[in-house]
């Protein structure tokens, strides 16, 4: 509870329309030389003290990256990314000798997290959240590790998992998102710096929400985190991810890969509140967010549920997907994507039905304001093996003002005649009479918009863990500040 309360308090305190997490911290960094080449890949691997097999994996990925063209299907406009303009590794100096307890962490770093409202003190275990924090490229502290390990749960930075659990990494890393999937996936595989690793053993229901907070701090730094979650048979885990970045005029690059594996009867619930810096009101700066998230329901009766609230980033390119391989497996995608000013989002999901009696559900709410562009792009694919597959898709778009755009691009492919696929889509403008009604009850224009938009998103927000839902509601309102003149 405390964790979230603190965050909410932070959010509440901030009344202006500026980005709330726009501070940067004065932390001494160790950086890789600027640019992208094989040496940098080696540098990262060396900094992480990785075994040879991991370095080989990265180098292979890098050579694949060099061969692949960038994906171009999205309805996004941005200048060509010069990969040589970024730093691919940045670590606070004090992390070189890893801290053994929170007391040993650079107070500046802790202050950064305090400003973010992320407490990493052990006592917050009571809040029901275990937190892994990734600052730029390094995982700062993973709380509650000991308590979780008693249940056999592994929750640690992926860099640590490479050292401690190589057999799991070798087996599962890249098993859901092949390195050669597309160029951002290959790039991430070559230069990923840190991220979270979760393993839930058989028959264990993870008792707390596992949570990672990502933050890009250093200037011109690309963040390439890698997350791998494995839910073994009959297990359950709920995982939360939050993101912020300081205000910078330059566009920062973020290309994460997240892989989920659910075995027989396992369930993974993955929730994201993404609030990377969106750029200023004229569209200057902001994060380029190219994220590949994919889960596989490998076992029978398994389930993967993605919930995302995307309010930040200048560019969002993201399609959390489910491969429904096991019979009777289920995939869900609940999404709120808000774009304001000059933000662009092209986001959606893929549901690939392979097993029998597989079902998927997609609820997408896109809100567009200012000059922003918001596209839902989703694929539902029913393979011939997927007897009796079902999908339900609902895409609703809400427009605020006259300069923004919303687009819905569904791709439906069915190779099985008994599949049931439903698609519903609506587009509407925010209703002036609703606004007037709320204002007549004393709400400001912005409060009224926040309320109405939150109502519009309710079906999605209610799938977030409770503490997170409150924060997300505030964020929804804040993101739309200044959207109506």
């Amino acid at each position: 509870m405390a964790a979230t309360e603190k965050t909410i308090e932070q959010v509440n305190k901030l009344g202006s329309s500026d980005y709330k997490y726009g501070f940067s911290s004065d932390i001494e960094n160790i950086q890789a030389p600027k640019g992208l080449n094989e040496e940098v890949v080696r540098f990262i691997s060396k900094q992480k003290n990785e075994p040879q097999w991991m370095l080989d994996w990265r180098l292979k990925a890098f050579s694949i990256f060099n061969r692949l063209k960038k994906p171009d299907w999205a309805k996004l406009h941005f200048p060509e990314i010069n990969f040589q303009d970024y730093y691919y590794y940045s670590s606070p100096k004090s992390m070189k000798d890893k801290p053994k307890s929170l007391d040993e962490i650079d107070p500046e770093i802790l202050k950064t997290y305090e400003k973010l409202g992320i407490p990493i003190e052990e006592q917050k275990f009571l809040s029901g959240m275990a937190v892994d924090v990734v600052l730029d490229s390094v995982s700062i502290a993973t709380t509650y590790k000991k308590q979780l390990s008693e249940l056999g749960i592994i929750f640690c930075p992926i860099s640590e998992a490479i050292q401690e659990h190589p057999e799991l990494i070798k087996k599962y890393l890249g098993s859901v998102i092949p390195v050669s999937d597309h160029s951002f996936a290959a790039l991430n595989s070559a230069v990923f710096t840190d991220g979270s690793f979760v393993y839930i053993p058989e028959n264990v229901r993870c008792p707390v929400e596992l949570s990672t907070y990502f933050r890009i701090n250093a200037i011109n730094t690309g963040q390439f985190e890698r997350t791998l979650i494995i839910a073994d048979k009959n297990s359950y885990v709920s995982y939360l991810e939050g993101c912020t970045a300081p205000m910078r005029d330059e566009n920062q690059l973020h290309a994460a890969n997240v892989e989920l594996v659910a075995l027989d009867n396992a369930e993974i619930k993955y929730s994201t509140v993404q609030n990377w810096y969106p750029g200023d009101k004229d569209g200057k700066g902001g994060i380029y967010n190219f994220v590949t998230k994919r889960g596989i329901c490998r076992g029978v009766n398994s389930k993967i549920s993605w919930t995302q609230v995307e309010t930040g980033s200048a560019i969002t390119w993201k399609y959390p997907s489910c491969i429904l391989q096991g019979d009777n497996s289920k995939g869900e995608f609940y999404s709120v994507a808000i774009t304001n000013n000059f933000q662009q989002a092209d986001t959606g999901t893929k549901m690939i039905h392979i097993g029998k009696n597989t079902s998927s559900k997609i609820i997408s709410k896109g809100i567009s304001a200012g000059h922003a562009s918001n596209t839902y792009r989703g694929q539902v694919k029913i393979q011939s093996s997927a007897a009796n597959a079902r999908n339900f898709t609902q895409c609703d778009s809400l427009l605020i003002g006259n300069e923004c755009g919303a687009h819905t691009v569904p791709y439906i492919e069915s190779a099985n005649s008994d599949a049931q696929v439903e698609h519903e889509a609506t587009t509407s403008k925010i209703n002036e009479d609703q606004l007037f009604y709320c204002q007549q009850r004393g709400l400001s224009n912005e409060e009224a918009i926040g309320l109405i938009v939150n109502g519009f998103c309710k079906e999605v927000l209610q799938h977030l863990p409770m503490e997170f839902a409150v924060e997300a509601q505030k964020l929804v309102s804040i993101s739309l500040e200044g959207s109506v003149g």
């Binding site: 007549q440 009850r441 109502g455």
Partner: protein, 247 residues
């Protein structure tokens, strides 16, 4: 409390209010009656600050301040409440949450702290009971799939929770059956006190059997053409608007 002086209002090129004057003091209930298109609803929207209405002449003072200078929520938080003829549906927003948001918006404008959740729940329970509102309704989305009567009851619930200085009831009686009319009227009567005032807009005298006005005004073609006490409403019912407006 409210002084309207020679108010002229138009939408586009069309003048709707053509020099309307009205004084309402605290403790008073005024009824405004008139035929369709006479400007009744326009008056309620202009007073509450809806845009698209252009004031070309005249003034409106509310509690000693220039009402026309304030934006919609300032007017509301100063204590002006409009019970809508057609209350809006807000999908996804729970009725009780909406009420709490509205109360806290008002409290914030008065530099008061937010109403504690428990206090709010207690108050809501009492007020809802008074209006014979099923507590389950408060968990539903605001006005979504409410019947006409439920919507009007909801407006009066909001009124009694927000406790405004001046409440304008815009054809609150339309679409109500006899029982609902009685319950809604009783709700209004309970809210009456020496410090507040009501402007009750209606077509029919029937509502005024329940909410007894101190003054009755007849509006026709954008002006108040006749004012009197309750007996004027009875007279109107007998003779009809056409005759009275000419008189």
């Amino acid at each position: 409390m409210l002084n309207i002086n020679n108010l002229k209002v138009s939408i586009g090129d069309k003048e709707i209010l053509k020099g309307l004057s009205l004084n309402i003091n605290k403790g008073e209930v005024h009824a405004l009656m008139g035929p369709n298109g006479s400007g009744k609803s326009t008056l309620s929207y202009v007073l509450s600050g809806k845009d698209k209405y252009k004031v070309s002449e005249g003034s409106v003072d509310f509690k000693g301040k220039n009402l026309l200078d304030m934006n919609v929520e300032e007017r509301a938080n100063q204590g002006l409440f409009l019970a809508f003829q057609y209350p809006m549906e807000i999908p996804g927003v729970q009725t009780s949450f909406f009420l709490r948001t509205a109360i806290n918006a008002k409290r914030k404008s008065q530099n008061l702290s937010e109403l504690d959740a428990l206090e709010f729940a207690k108050l809501l329970k009492i007020k809802a009971q008074e209006l014979n509102i099923n507590p389950d309704m408060l968990k539903r989305d605001l006005n979504v799939d409410y019947s006409g009567g439920e919507k009007k009851k909801q407006e009066i619930l909001q009124l009694s929770m927000l406790n405004p200085d001046l409440a304008i009831l815009d054809e609150t009686d339309s679409g109500l059956d006899i029982d609902a009319l009685r319950i809604v009227s009783e709700g209004v009567n309970r809210a009456r006190n020496k410090e507040n005032a009501f402007l009750v807009i209606t077509h029919y005298q029937r509502l005024l059997n329940y909410i007894k006005p101190d003054f009755v005004h007849i509006i026709a073609d954008g002006r108040i053409v006749k004012s009197g006490d309750y007996s004027l409403a009875l007279e109107l019912e007998e003779q009809g608007y056409e005759k009275m407006a000419k008189a």
